[in-house]
């Protein structure tokens, strides 16, 4: 009787510890486990928006560099126009991200938390086995994909 109670109790403790670990660490490499789907839409959108913002930034810089390398008047005019458009697009993305609370340029503590969270979450995804080992799908085409 006593032994049975002890066994039940230890099982309960183990179960409790397990659920705490799941809640706290999130370090679970099973991509089918629903715990890993928690906040995924928000996290995914934040990542895509960050990529979008970086591309806009990079585009502005690339265009500015090209502009200072060019001499042809029509090329200069085109790059100048695209630079202005790029700056406007960068502003739109920044404002959207601030509105959605994916970007906190004025609250660095908040930004710090987001940085660390997305880094950790992405490292976890990076360590998951998501794809089959063999990804050569060329056999699915009825002929060489590149041939006419």
């Amino acid at each position: 009787m006593n032994a049975h109670l002890l066994k039940l109790l230890s099982q309960k403790v183990a179960l409790h510890q397990f659920s705490i670990e799941r809640k706290v660490s999130h370090l679970n490499h099973d991509y089918l486990d629903p715990i890993n789907a928690l906040n995924v839409p928000e996290m995914a959108d934040m990542t895509f928006a960050m990529d979008f913002l970086m591309r806009a930034k990079e585009g502005v810089r690339n265009t500015a560099i090209a502009l200072t390398e060019s001499a042809s008047p029509d090329l200069r005019a085109l790059l100048r126009k695209q630079l202005m458009q790029g700056i406007a697009m960068h502003q739109e993305i920044t404002e959207l991200m601030i509105k959605k609370k994916w970007f906190h340029p004025y609250e660095l503590r908040e930004q710090y938390k987001l940085d660390q969270l997305s880094a950790n979450n992405t490292i976890m995804i990076g360590n998951m086995k998501l794809f089959p080992g063999e990804t050569n799908r060329k056999g699915m085409f009825d002929r060489t994909p590149d041939s006419l």
Binding site: F52, R55, G59, S70, L75, L78, K100, L148
Partner: protein, 81 residues
Amino acid sequence: MDIQRLAPHESVDLHEIINFKTLCVAKSKLMQGLVFDQDLKALMQKDVQQSIQDLTELQAIYERAPFEAPFPESRPTPILN
């Protein structure tokens, strides 16, 4: 009348911008299939349209690069194998 050729340094930078813009079109297009937020998706669609416009304008000027050459409509032979 001879067409006004681009200088080499302009052409190399144009090459970089064209490849960057090409990737931007591809990425903004692909990501629209993955995003959840509809405002973000709409902004990405705007970016696709703007980048296509930019890219075609850049291509037109790129034709005046000193290393310009005729190219087929699609790749006639595989790069590898």
